[in-house]
């Protein structure tokens, strides 16, 4: 390519054939093949950059938009209650339509500013842009059963990249229109992708009637691989309605997420 620059800048008529003579066709074939191979290499490198970097940029933007949409509809104080009271049985909302926002998940272990939208459905359109996807047909937050969500370990925001860093006892907060559900992380499990029983109302216990409210998060494992799935189980610990304000541990984060701090 570069050895033709002088020709081009010397204002050679556009139609002039370059380097006429024997072997021109073969030379041209080799040159075009080489340029195509170089192009393919560049495209693959760009694809890697897109997958590992640009998908984060796009996903972060659409997740921020989903959070803004939820926050604009959320009514309730953003300051924590003065004293802890028992609010009884948690409210259970009906599952929204596919692609609609259920709420926001806060996981302090994943970072002091970690807040990601939870959206109904686990299709590529949800997980690739909106973050955490709720498995349709599994329970909603607060219900006896299993609130199961999936999220990417890498690419597209990598919402569950740090899932292996959860420590038993870590709190995971789910905010919906109804209020705040505080889950406590218990353990994780690494399974084959075919193990759908981790999504059962009582995870991996077929036919068992659920008494507790589970939160199950699934992502791929290992990092940058997908041979297995990593599954993190948490149990509902407490609940407070939206009217009572956020739990004091995440009050600052909730206010920041709602653009009030």
């Amino acid at each position: 390519m570069t050895q033709q620059q002088p020709e081009a800048s010397a204002a050679v008529p556009a139609t002039s054939p370059h380097r006429p003579g024997a072997g021109g066709a073969a030379r041209k074939t080799v040159q075009v093949t080489g340029e195509l191979l170089l192009t393919a290499g560049a495209v693959l490198l760009l694809f890697v950059a897109w997958e590992l970097w640009w998908t984060h940029v796009e996903a972060d933007a659409s997740q921020a938009k989903a959070i803004d949409g939820f926050a604009s509809e959320f009514t309730g104080p953003l300051t924590p209650p003065a004293e802890q009271t028992d609010h009884g049985k948690p409210a259970v909302s009906a599952a929204p339509g596919y692609g609609e926002t259920i709420g926001i998940m806060y996981v302090p272990r994943f970072g002091a500013d970690y807040s990601r939208p939870i959206v109904q459905g686990t299709g590529p359109d949800v997980l690739d842009s909106l973050g955490l996807g709720h498995y349709e047909g599994t329970g909603m937050p607060g219900a006896a059963g299993n609130f199961a969500v999936a999220g990417h370990r890498q690419t597209h925001g990598a919402v569950l990249d740090s899932i292996h860093q959860l420590v038993p006892g870590d709190r995971i907060y789910v905010q919906t229109k109804a209020g705040y559900y505080t889950y406590v992380y218990r353990n994780n499990q690494i399974v084959l992708p075919s193990r759908t029983d981790v999504l059962l109302p009582v995870p991996t216990k077929a036919g068992a009637p659920p008494r507790d409210s589970y939160l199950t998060m699934t992502s791929c494992n290992p990092r940058f691989g997908s041979e297995e799935r990593i599954v993190a189980y948490s149990l509902l610990d407490s609940w407070q309605p939206a009217s009572a304000g956020p739990p004091s541990d995440i009050a600052a984060l909730v206010a920041m997420t709602h653009g009030k701090a």
Binding site: Q154, R195, C220
Partner: protein
């Protein structure tokens, strides 16, 4: 190939340089919008759901 395209672009040198830049930018946009999302189905980085190998 690229030399041929550059020589066949109309206009003076600066116009051809501008046109080349615009062509490259356009191809980049097309790749990001259509080619890369399509290619990503062949990587396994996005498989995070249980029960489906195909679903990310």
């Amino acid at each position: 190939m690229y030399g041929w395209i550059f020589r066949h672009l109309p206009g003076p040198l600066w116009a051809r340089i501008l046109a080349s830049a615009a062509l490259i930018a356009g191809i980049l946009v097309l790749m990001v919008q259509f080619l890369f999302p399509w290619m990503s189905q062949f990587t396994t980085l996005t498989d995070s759901t249980i029960g489906s190998v195909q679903q990310p």
